[in-house]
Symmetry: C2
Subunit: 347 residues, 2 copies
């Protein structure tokens, strides 16, 4: 498997979370994953959020206006829909994530729901379109980054208009001054550098909605849109690394393996760990979750015997979704939540 | 040019600065480049800095002890010695930087010099060895990350023991609770997660000093150690990007091109910009520097005519060093400061 210079250009600007950062229940600023489609834009000093379209009472809000609204702060685990893409064969050319496109932020802001209720969507309204300030060309189409939510999801869920991360003003690379956070959905829904919310009477047909972010078996498959995050467990790689290969070296003896697991479909029901390359599985102990939309910590004891081993872990959620042992290829290289495999040398 | 999965593993965990972030005189936390040799370690709650070796008065200092010492805050531009490595041919296998391994932090802490004077190095002392908490295997040798400075450089320069970045406590990924910052030197000198400072009577022979970070023409060349940062200018890529290729699309008309330039050998004397692939060069206007060790901003007007263009920029410092047009290959893939080239489509 090799990576082209175009993919390296993306890997060099988009940030993964080094997996040892799984030790933090809330990912420190600067370690959370980042996928920036175009460029980080520079918002105007007189930035406002426009809320318009099929509504009775359009709104134009400054950041101070938003700050004076009801405040919610909650931990949300966010993951890129392309996480795991670089492990697919045949190779899919785009941002080449291995497994590190994840993070949990303490997002602070005002609930989307209250703001939508205040503008009073008309009877005909069906979707809510979110437009960012970031602009570029994708699939030969010039565009601002835009995504929609069905009105029912926008009104019914816990979506947040966030102006804080981990108690700090939203960092520029995470969408300053304002971003959408859609808990439980892949990151593509959580539009950054939010400039406009348009309530629409028709399904949105923008590029990022109808072309990108669809699960398609082949080029002829229209596919289904991505939404919720499929379950995944990841392990803090034990021991110490070799610099170049990242192979792990572990001392023989008793260890506690730790990691985190999440799903957008429901609470994590179980995490199982294998010490023998998937031949047998043992249940891990789960921590209480820090919130409905946050990953849960897990741990399991391991007696490491000298030799070569492969460690892996897999999560199942309460909706019955379980991580597969092998990936399923798809055109866009999305949703590869096949179990993590960590080769380890015990000495 | 292709990149292996081992290199992708490094690119996915080490962070580059997206080049549009050149617009910020001080790089926001989370956008500064990061090169982490091993894993981000977790310091013990009772962490202390030990200062020992060939000294009259060894010291053991808590973070509070360090905070009560004289305080300095200064902007320092830091760059990885491997920046530009991925552009070298034949290919050098290591962290595959293109051009983005740079950032400027407002580092706050206490001067190294004062602390060294206080421990009173003995007559025989020649070097100062800095040991981090991060541990792993490199070149078949298990090691903590360690680097030394000649005692004269440690006493004579502006090196800082930093516990703040941009007015915040040092982020974990930048070396919490304490790191060395050696202004003007490539980043390898600025040891993170500092645990121990040992004043030594012999030249240090650790792996990162005597094997890594040397400029070697071929495998038989003993080479010379890297220290100061060679000059480089980078440009904020103009216009808007195409997502996958990162090709820039610019509207025809008058533009102001902007960027930053730096050198560890002395102040930046000039930046020149070419709009025609290096056939002709025009001087850019320089901003006053924000500090002795910080990059300087530059700008130049450009009348963009429709068609395909290649923009580039090059810096010269007051010590007479100038960026080359083409890289010089070396074994470790270091110090590739050949001029940046940005293909642009003007429409």
């Amino acid at each position: 498997m090799t990576i082209s210079i175009e993919e390296l250009q993306l890997a060099a600007r988009n940030h993964g979370m080094p997996l040892e950062a799984l030790r933090y229940p809330v990912t420190p600023i600067g370690l959370h994953y980042l996928l920036i489609h175009f460029d980080v834009p520079e918002p105007s000093p007189d930035w406002r959020l426009e809320v318009a379209g099929s509504v009775s009472r359009p709104l134009s809000l400054s950041l101070d206006d938003l700050r004076s609204r009801p405040y919610v702060r909650m931990p949300v685990t966010m993951e890129c829909a392309g996480n795991g893409r670089a492990r697919l064969e045949p190779h899919v050319v785009s941002q080449p994530w291995l497994a590190e496109a994840v993070g949990t932020g303490e997002w602070g802001g005002t609930p989307l729901r209250g703001l939508l209720e205040e503008v009073e969507p008309l009877e005909e309204a069906v979707e809510v379109v979110f437009s960012g300030l970031d602009r570029g060309i994708d699939g030969d189409v010039e565009q601002a980054y835009e995504r929609s939510l069905p009105l029912a999801d926008a009104l019914g869920g816990d979506a947040l208009l966030a102006y804080e991360l981990n108690g700090e003003p939203l960092p520029r690379q995470h969408g300053f001054p304002l971003r959408l956070v859609v808990p439980g959905w892949y990151g593509m829904a959580s539009v950054k550098w939010l400039a406009r919310i348009e309530i629409s009477e028709r399904p949105f047909e923008g590029y990022q909605q109808t072309h990108a972010y669809r699960l398609r078996r082949d080029e002829d498959d229209e596919g289904v849109p991505l939404d919720r995050i499929h379950p995944r467990a990841l392990m803090i790689p034990p021991g110490i690394p070799e610099f170049l290969s990242r192979r792990r070296i572990v001392d023989a003896g008793e260890h506690v393996l730790e990691g985190r697991a999440w799903s957008g479909f429901g609470p994590v029901a179980s995490v199982e760990v294998s010490f023998d390359g998937g031949a047998s599985w043992r249940p891990a102990e789960l921590e209480p979750p820090a919130g409905r939309w946050a990953w849960v910590g897990w741990r399991v004891g391991w007696r490491a015997e000298p030799g070569e081993h492969e460690l892996s872990c897999r999560a199942r959620d309460e909706a019955g979704n379980e991580q597969p042992l092998e990936p399923t290829w798809n055109v866009g290289g999305y949703v590869n939540n096949a179990v993590q495999r960590i080769p380890v040398t015990v000495r």
